[in-house]
């Protein structure tokens, strides 16, 4: 499932941090390929980390 991320991010009012989303996504996708990674912004890196690098428990 290809996914394009916007480059600029701002935390919007009404957004809520849901810790379990990462676990859900990791269960859905066994393999993740990040292309053109040199063009990743800091915010995208944080997002990708929180989705696919499972905190202390290591990588999916």
């Amino acid at each position: 499932m290809p996914l394009t991320l916007p480059t600029r991010w701002r935390w919007q009012p009404g957004w809520r941090w849901v810790p379990d989303i990462g676990a859900g996504e990791r269960a859905r996708f066994r393999v993740v390929l990040l292309d053109e990674f040199q063009d990743t912004s800091e915010a995208q890196l944080v997002l990708l980390r929180s989705l696919f690098a499972a905190g202390d428990s290591g990588v999916p």
């Binding site: 600029r8 993740v32 292309d35 040199q38 063009d39 990743t40 912004s41 995208q44 696919f52 990588v59």
Partner: protein
């Protein structure tokens, strides 16, 4: 979890991409054991000699990279490739050389070719040279599109004809195939515009002026006093002679300027045609933009003009006009208020801020040589590529030439800034790694003599 990237191709720093994300990936995504790093160092795009040039140009960048990147190696079945380097005196000679070379290189049907320029200002000479050599070409991207003679004509013509102040934009229609004015006729028309403006201004000072202080008017003495002085409230409106108004009110054939300038009889007939076309277009100002673009194209003879150029197929000849019509249609469907004035302001912005409105190429085409900026060429490939202006210190080394500064005692040429050096070289490696087949690198001097 796999990340793929090339630190030498990081060109989006300007919009927030971080130069360190690739470096940090192994540490950020780890389960404790070392994250394996593999080099994808085989290029599937280039022949050997072209790759050699690319690696050479990218070498300083590799040396300073935070991530180790191996030099690229050719694919197993790669050909030798063909790199031609020419050293020429000026950018005009360089463009002529490129055009000749491209004419030969594209003579075999089905060959795709491109001219990649560092800056848009390099397009002009290249387009002229390709015209002269009879090689069909296409300018890619909106910003570049607006610089092509035939579409730059367009927006000024229709558009500026609505605003009296932009007579300069009429130069192209006046000297183009429709009016074909020579220098003497242009001079005559300009003199007529100035003459006309003086007459109109003199008239208006009587007619439009408003009495500022009627109370002090000495009505009965029959003698003009200071209270009778009339003032033109907006004299600046008439300060500039307007070619557009002169076009609406052409001189009689017998008119002569103070230094004998005149507009010839033949020129007058053609100017009348242009004047009629412009007046008709102004009345159509309420049409939807795309319709207006089509009307203008026909009224001003652009459709015939592009079709009559030798060497173009009906498809390629219309490439720029069609692209421009697409732009107008896009604008009409996406803008809040798709008015002509809004469209023009938007086009001006496109010229000024090329990057924001640059459109990606559809695909390399074998029908015409494509001219585009190196920046827009990312990810594309052609059989044959020419790069003008490879001048030491200009491209790909550093931005601009260092400006000599006087330090009180003597003139000093500053060292290039390392940051700029890296960024520019990064741009370079993207394209040099992209070309299959043959390449011409023409290093032009002229203003940028080595």
């Amino acid at each position: 979890m796999t990340a793929v990237g090339d630190p030498n191709q990081s060109i989006y720093g300007w919009r927030g991409a971080s130069a360190t994300t690739l470096t940090r990936f192994p540490a950020e995504f780890t389960d404790g054991s070392p994250t394996p790093v593999r080099q994808l160092a085989t290029t599937w795009r280039n022949d050997a000699s072209i790759l050699k040039v690319a690696n050479h140009l990218a070498a300083p960048l590799r040396a300073s990279a935070r991530v180790d990147v191996a030099p690229l190696a050719v694919r197993p079945d790669a050909g030798v490739g063909d790199v031609v380097v020419a050293r020429v005196g000026t950018h005009v000679e360089e463009a002529a050389y490129l055009a000749d070379w491209l004419a030969g290189a594209t003579s075999r049907a089905g060959t795709t070719a491109a001219v990649l320029c560092r800056k848009r200002s390099q397009f002009g000479p290249v387009m002229e040279a390709l015209d002269a050599a009879g090689v069909p070409y296409e300018v890619v991207g909106l910003g570049g599109l607006l610089l092509t003679p035939r579409s730059s004509t367009w927006s000024p013509r229709c558009a500026r004809s609505l605003t009296r102040s932009r007579g300069d934009a009429l130069m192209r229609p006046l000297t183009g195939p429709m009016c074909r004015l020579g220098a003497a006729d242009l001079d005559g028309l300009h003199e007529w515009a100035r003459f006309r403006q003086k007459v109109v201004k003199a008239e208006s000072q009587g007619r439009l002026a408003i009495d500022l202080d009627p109370g002090h008017r000495d009505e009965d003495d029959g003698v003009e006093g200071p209270g009778d002085a009339l003032v033109d409230l907006a004299p600046e409106v008439l300060d500039e002679p307007s070619i557009i108004e002169a076009l609406d009110d052409l001189p009689p054939e017998v008119w002569r300027g103070t230094e004998g300038q005149y507009v010839g009889a033949g020129a007058l007939v053609r100017l009348k045609g242009l004047s009629t076309a412009l007046r008709r277009l102004r009345r159509l100002g309420a049409l939807p933009l795309p319709d207006l673009v089509g009307e203008a194209e026909r009224a001003l003879g652009l459709d015939v003009e592009v079709l009559s150029r030798p060497g173009y197929t009906p498809d390629t000849s219309r490439a720029h006009l069609d692209a421009f019509a697409d732009v107008a249609a896009d604008f009409a469907s996406s803008a809040d208020r798709p008015t002509l004035i809004g469209f023009l302001a938007w086009l001006d912005a496109a010229v000024a801020q090329e990057r924001g409105l640059e459109r990606a190429t559809s695909s390399p085409s074998a029908e015409a040589v494509q001219i585009l900026t190196i920046h827009a060429a990312k990810g594309l490939e052609w059989d044959v590529v020419a790069v003008p202006g490879l001048v030491e210190g200009t491209f790909p080394a550093r931005e601009g030439s260092p400006t000599p500064k006087h330090n009180g005692a003597r003139w000093v040429v500053p060292d290039p800034t390392p940051g700029r050096l890296a960024r520019r070289a990064r741009g370079g490696s993207v394209r040099f790694a992209r070309r299959p087949g043959r390449v011409a690198d023409a290093a032009g001097g002229g203003r940028f003599r080595q």
